[in-house]
Amino acid sequence: MHQVKVRSQQGFIPIPHVPIDAVSLSARTKTFKTRSIKKDSKLAGLYLAIQMTDLTTLEGSDSLQKIRGLCTKALSPVSHAFQLSLQQKRPELPPVPRVAAVCVYPNFVADAKCMLAGSGVKVASVASGFPAGQVPFAIKEADVKAAVLAGADEVDMVIDRGAFLSGKYQQVFDEIRGLKEICGDAHLKVILETGELGTYDNIRLASWLAMEAGADFIKTSTGKISQAATMESTLVMLEAIADFYRAYGKKVGMKPAGGIRTAKQAIQYLVMLRESLGSEWLNPDLFRFGASSLLNDLLRQIASQVLGHYADQDQFSMD
């Protein structure tokens, strides 16, 4: 087996090759899907999933008003009337929480930051030549710098998959490390684009590479290719995070993104998180969902769980 190692200021870092058995991996994810999460466990999962959501818009057509709409929704996901109806039914319930962050292109960071100031909702920005990462490193640096200067709390960068697949691990490592430095206090999420890596072994290798390079979070996908987050690829990454924690005592976060549209899926991911990394990871500092349409389904399920019937589609903002 070809031994992968990368050079850093501290010397050589070996990147272990950890083989993954795809059949057993998939069987394991099925056990999470068959957990029956009911009643207050379900409600707790729905609330938590909202708190973990990075409400995302990453379209070429994004405009200031679109971003304003998204931020407004981030600040108040449900109407006052809806909140009241929940509280009438279950007075002891906490109010419907806010999402963790909004995730936008660098152009909109300043506006989002302004709208969300003081709310606790963070602003995340994709950067580094998102989504392909096929631009010169200097441009990636400038991209990240711009996002951070505009006030981004979190930066979602992409790795250069072409470099990774052609074995240029050093380049991938150096780029992550370089961008991490530019981030300063901003948290760095490293997008592996698992759908382009081809094998679970590669996903595992890329996860470790990113964590060694300083990733605060590792993230599955850009959402820009058809194969986005899957339970399987996420589990490979969760297991890498567990091993990294065992080796270094450092907790790295996880963000599956793309393709998670329903509350049912979100709860299956939370079950997987709970039963792989444990309850210490069950918070927005260490787990996020990258999603745009998930929030409304979570709200609909909360309505059904508390009020006993599904809410009208139009009860929740489509922004």
Partner: protein, 514 residues
């Protein structure tokens, strides 16, 4: 939790830091009363679709009949210790009646039926089983203590699959033995165990019927109810009376059956001890015999394995169905260089095993099948603790009623330890190490049994080489406890002889004439 060794103590702490305490009861999220880290809310399967009679009689000649013995025993729900129903005890005369009815059915009806028509009945049984799957699953869980998710996802679907599979063979037997002709044996006595009650009934009945035999089936004493419910299915399928007879009772009933001179074939699944006694009893007679007995199967993990998946495989191998599995991977052989991190991962993974009410859809490990088995496992654990080695058991709250044992394992074991030799038939794993593939093979084979084995490695050539040197009837590579009606199952050495499943599973129920 490990007691003897300081280093082990440290690794437990790391494990617990990672897995955290999954079972905490109170919220730690301040104002929020909702906490996903709390134990999952109970998700109990409804028992409404099952109606359990207060009393069950014998199923002889197509109808329910009170036993000649007039005596009954209680079938207990091991998760509560409460009685579910009283079940007839068949005595010698009842056995005689059942065998006679099977003989009549064989002579007058079943052996004269065209193979395609035989197949049609078996297909019908399979379909009805599928339709009533939920009912069977719930009853299996109530009577035997296994988690509802296993009864629902494994036992019942596989039982139906076996009937479907052998239904297909009924009119194709000539293709199974090209150039030869085969004939049925006659009346089969079949004794099945309590670990997979309905599934074992299917394993026995489906090939026997497909080959044209008639049967007297004796379910295990602690788990008779699904076999008795199956008798309703047989009636619904309009199977001719006497083709299948189901007689319940204790071990004595089983003895009467195997001693009956009117049987052409005996099939037994159960302990090696009883299997030996049956074989001795049958020695002077020509009665055909197949035995599926105990095991102490080795699960070998090489350092080049997919480790996280191997941990899953090991968990599934030993803790599936509370370890009440004849082919359970009850000896774990770890390559010494990965033993320590592997055991740490195993402990972390075990924190997420949920032991409790078998009817809860989230329960992973249910109740031990009976009080007697519970006592046997406890006494073996006690013996294990007295011998050299370290002990680890999941620290979890067990239900107050019923028979439960938290999953556990012994480390630093050698082939000389009792728990590396004795079949526990419970959630108890014995872990030892090896240095080379050759040593792994020697240790794996160093047992009186030879039922199954598992190999974990990402190197195909190593898997094939090791597999070819293991004395085991079933060898899984990079998986464990995978069953399919098309795959033959059976053992070497004291694990028995004869195969069940697949084309090979026809052979114990046929005579190849020429």
């Amino acid at each position: 939790m490990l007691t003897k060794n300081g280093e082990e103590q440290r690794s437990v702490q790391t494990t617990e830091a990672l897995a955290s305490d999954q079972r905490k009861q109170s919220s730690n999220k301040g104002q929020c009363s909702l906490d996903f880290a709390q134990d999952y809310a109970p998700a109990l399967e409804s028992t409404q679709m099952v109606s359990i009679n207060s009393r069950y009689d014998l199923f002889i000649n197509g109808k329910q009949q009170a036993p000649h013995s007039k005596s009954y025993f209680q079938s207990i729900n091991p998760a509560t210790g409460e009685s579910l129903a009283e079940v007839a005890i068949a005595d010698e005369q009842d056995v005689q009646l059942a065998v006679q009815s099977a003989r009549n059915a064989y002579d007058k009806v079943w052996s004269k039926l065209s193979p395609a028509k035989r197949g049609r009945y078996i297909y019908r049984i399979a379909r009805i089983l599928q339709e009533r799957a939920k009912e069977f699953a719930v009853l299996e869980t109530l009577d035997g203590g296994k988690p509802i998710k296993e009864a629902r996802d494994v036992d019942i679907p596989l039982a139906a699959a076996h009937f479907f599979y052998y239904a297909g063979w009924a009119d194709k037997l000539e293709y199974a033995y090209p150039g030869k002709s085969v004939r049925s044996l006659g009346v089969c006595g079949q004794i099945i165990p309590w670990n997979f009650p309905l599934l074992m009934a299917a394993w026995k009945l489906a090939p026997a019927l497909a080959c044209g035999n008639t049967c007297v089936l004796k379910p295990a004493e602690t788990t008779p109810l699904t076999a008795l419910l199956l008798s309703e299915v047989l009636q619904e399928a309009e199977l001719p009376p006497g083709v299948v007879n189901i007689i319940t009772g204790t071990g004595e009933t089983g003895s009467h059956l195997v001693e009956h001179k009117g049987l052409d074939k005996i099939a037994f699944t159960g302990s090696t001890e009883v299997g030996k006694a049956i074989a001795r009893g049958l020695a002077p007679r020509g009665t055909k015999l197949s035995l599926e007995l105990g095991g102490k199967s080795a699960h070998i993990v090489f350092k080049d394995a997919a480790i996280d998946q191997a941990v899953e495989g090991v968990i599934n191998g030993i803790y599936f169905n509370q370890g009440h599995v004849c082919c359970a991977g009850s000896r774990l052989l770890l390559e010494e260089s990965i033993a320590e991190p592997f055991i740490e991962k195993l402990k972390a993974r075990m924190q997420n095993l949920r032991v409790g009410n078998p009817l809860d859809k989230n329960t992973d490990i249910g109740a031990i099948n009976s009080k007697a088995q519970w006592e046997r496992i406890q006494s073996l654990i006690k013996i294990g603790k007295q011998e050299p080695g370290n002990f680890f058991q999941l620290d979890t709250k067990l239900p107050e009623k019923g028979y439960f044992i938290a999953p556990c394992f012994f480390t630093d074991q050698s082939s000389s330890n009792s728990l590396s030799q004795v079949e526990v038939f419970g959630p108890v794993l014995s872990i030892m190490t090896f240095r080379t593939p050759a040593e792994a093979v020697v240790k794996a084979n160093n047992t009186q049994y030879g039922l199954a084995a598992g190999i974990w490695s990402e190197k195909g050539s190593k898997i094939k080489d090791v597999a070819s040197r293991l004395n085991a009837g079933v060898i899984w590579a990079n998986t464990y406890n995978k069953f399919d009606p098309g795959a033959p199952f059976g053992g070497f050495k004291e694990s028995g002889y004869g195969r069940e499943g697949g084309l090979q599973g026809l052979h114990p129920y046929l005579e190849v004439v020429h």
